[in-house]
């Protein structure tokens, strides 16, 4: 007798393979449908303490320089230091008055000592935060002409030019730069690649920048890089990776509210766990009073079919974001809201036209086309689209708007193409837009 049955042995691997396949498949299905955002993963960050700690640290530095300035009220070094710290206060707390304090101090310094590259760069950084891109371009061109610290000035001017839709000049500036392996260069190149719609290369660049941040060991850089990378993985539809990267970002800066907001988006857009998304956003709203969260909460309420709640959240956002102290910061969101709100489309059109002056980016033209469509000017909308948007941006929101505009103009074939492309970024667009796109596509 043979100690074993050959025939039986031949069959066994097949059986084992079948079992593995069966369980593996079941596991894959289970795994892919399992919610990604797990509150236990980020419970440690859902406390106001981290932000309070960050505020305390900033307060210590602020008091240090405030005391110095009090003793020597005209000292421009102290004024510059404080201007930077007040801008950090705005970033940390969302208190827009701090940004204006920062600007006022910089103006004082600039008046006393004009033509200082450092001051011009700080003024430009604040102007960019205020979305005053034309103003920022003026400062950066002046700084670049002065000549000191050209590398940093070129990078900041590149930022502004990209916002202003001047991709040709931005590209030429980038080509002139010597330090092509520098972190600050890599992230600009990443933005350029992303703008061109080459997300895989943009991600590779950001990963290279992250490796530099790791090698430098700077927690601030690591947090910033990871948080950005997490956003980009999300845009690429790699949601679990995006989520894990947000978690890693939070480990380097537990007060990183941007990453928590990213996790709220995972809970909503991917998991459809509206309660969890609302819980995170509610927490953020409590410790960080900026208008942004209302807009996201309105979208979630809309997804839940709670139309009146959604409308009141939209109104709350509009009211907060219309505060003149915010300048241009929320103009594009306000325009988008007003475009589809009954009786406000004319106002939306006016905002979009203003926005074009400040930021003639393809996305602003996309908004102008959208506002025109909602205002009943469908031919004008199509003309703007073809002249300024098509082939100039791959943003999913622009693709979506393009699809609808073409559809309303009776161009069903190309409308279908755009809507299908937009649908590929379903996670990024969110469930509400995704449902709308599906509905439009079902009619085509």
């Amino acid at each position: 007798m043979y100690p074993f049955n050959l025939h039986h042995l031949m069959k066994k691997p097949i059986l084992i393979a079948a079992v593995i396949l069966l369980f593996g498949g079941a596991f894959a299905i289970f795994y892919s449908q399992r919610p990604i955002a797990d509150p236990a993963d980020y419970a440690a960050f859902m406390t106001p303490n981290h932000l309070e700690n960050a505020k305390e640290k900033l307060q210590e530095r602020t008091l240090f320089w405030e005391n110095k300035l009090q003793a020597a009220p005209a000292n421009f070094v102290y004024q510059s230091k404080l201007a930077g710290l007040y801008a950090s206060w705005f970033k940390l707390t969302g208190d827009v008055q701090q940004l204006h304090r920062s600007d006022s101090l910089l103006c004082l310094v600039h008046e006393q000592m004009p033509n200082q590259v450092g001051t011009l760069q700080s003024m430009a950084a604040n102007a960019i935060t205020r979305h005053a891109f034309a103003e920022a371009e003026g400062y950066m061109r002046q700084a670049l002409a002065l000549g000191e610290n050209r590398f940093a000035s070129s990078l900041m001017l590149t930022d502004v030019l990209m916002e202003r839709g001047n991709f040709g000049d931005a590209d030429r500036l980038m080509r002139d730069m010597a330090s092509r392996t520098h972190f600050d260069y890599l992230i600009r190149e990443m933005k350029m690649l992303d703008q061109e719609g080459d997300l895989p290369s943009a991600i590779k660049n950001m990963e290279k920048a992250l490796a530099l941040a790791r090698s430098a060991g700077s927690e601030e850089l690591l947090n910033w890089s990871l948080s950005n990378l997490a956003d980009m993985y999300g845009h690429d539809g790699r949601i679990r990776k995006s989520y894990n990267t947000y978690l890693e970002a939070l480990r380097y800066n537990p007060a990183d509210l941007h990453s928590l907001k990213g996790i709220a988006w995972v809970a909503f857009s991917q998991d459809k766990n509206t309660a969890e998304a609302q819980r995170i956003l509610g927490f953020l709203q409590k410790i960080h009073p900026v208008p942004d969260y209302d807009l996201l909460l309105a979208e979630i309420a809309e997804f839940e079919g709670k139309d009146s709640e959604s409308a009141s959240l939209r109104q709350s956002f509009t009211q907060k974001a219309s505060n003149p102290a915010y300048g241009n910061m929320y103009k594009s969101y306000l325009c988008e809201l007003k475009a589809t709100d009954v009786g406000q489309s004319t106002e939306a059109l006016a905002i979009a036209q203003q926005e074009i002056k400040e930021r003639p980016h393809p996305m602003s033209y996309s908004l102008l086309a959208w506002a025109s469509l909602q205002n009943g000017e469908k031919a004008a909308a199509k003309e703007i689209l073809e002249k300024y948007v098509v082939n100039r941006t791959e943003e999913p929101n622009a693709l979506y708007r393009a699809g609808i505009i073409l559809l309303r103009n009776g161009e069903r074939e190309s409308a279908k193409e755009y809507l299908e492309s937009a649908l590929e970024a379903s996670y990024e667009l969110g469930p509400v837009a995704t449902a709308e796109i599906r509905q439009e596509l079902s009619k085509l």
Binding site: G147, D159, L296
Partner: protein, 178 residues
């Protein structure tokens, strides 16, 4: 109704150049692979680069090897010296404008390996620098003070004679931030 907020749309703000000079880990002996390093700044004697190098030349000067500085920048330094003090003849070191400018343009801090270390103590000149040395007054004296240091008395002293807090006796010897 669509209110699309891209999770990442607000984070791409202009990044300041504050990271250019960050060196958090001075014990890192393995430079990142594939990285090209570039000279970005240098300073020898306090305030000399700040005062004598024009804004448009700053980047270039900061990248110039010290041995090439005098050849490249002595004339510009001399123009700036004469613009600051049109009556300059020689200074307390007996240097005429060309000699002094050439010496200044090589923006390094000389150090004598033996003897007293000082920027200027009345006897020794530029044998190094200690924290308490009144470097700015010394420089002002050499620029404005004429052959015996008595010219332009209002311009030869910064009237800051000491740090406003005692230095430490241990490394890094500076006073703590205050």
């Amino acid at each position: 109704m669509k209110n699309i907020i891209r999770a990442g749309s607000l984070l791409f703000i202009a990044f300041s150049a504050s990271f250019l000079t960050s060196c958090d880990k001075d014990d890192d002996t393995n430079p990142f692979e594939g990285l090209t390093y570039q000279q970005e700044d240098q300073m020898g004697r306090p305030a000399i680069n700040t005062v004598f190098v024009a804004t448009a030349d700053k980047d270039d000067f900061n990248e110039t090897t010290p041995s090439a500085m005098s050849g490249k920048y002595a004339t510009k330094f001399q123009n700036q010296l004469m613009a600051l003090n049109a009556g300059y003849t020689t200074n307390a070191l007996g240097m005429d404008a060309a000699t002094f400018s050439g010496a200044l343009a090589t923006d390094v801090l000389n150090v004598a390996t033996s003897g007293t270390t000082t920027f200027f103590d009345g006897i020794n000149v530029l044998t190094g620098r200690t924290l308490a040395d009144d470097v700015i007054s010394t420089e002002l004296l050499l620029i404005f003070g004429g052959p015996d240091g008595s010219a332009n008395p209002n311009l030869t002293d910064d009237n800051v004679d000491a740090n406003d807090k005692a230095f430490s006796n241990t490394f890094p010897y500076l006073a703590s931030p205050h």
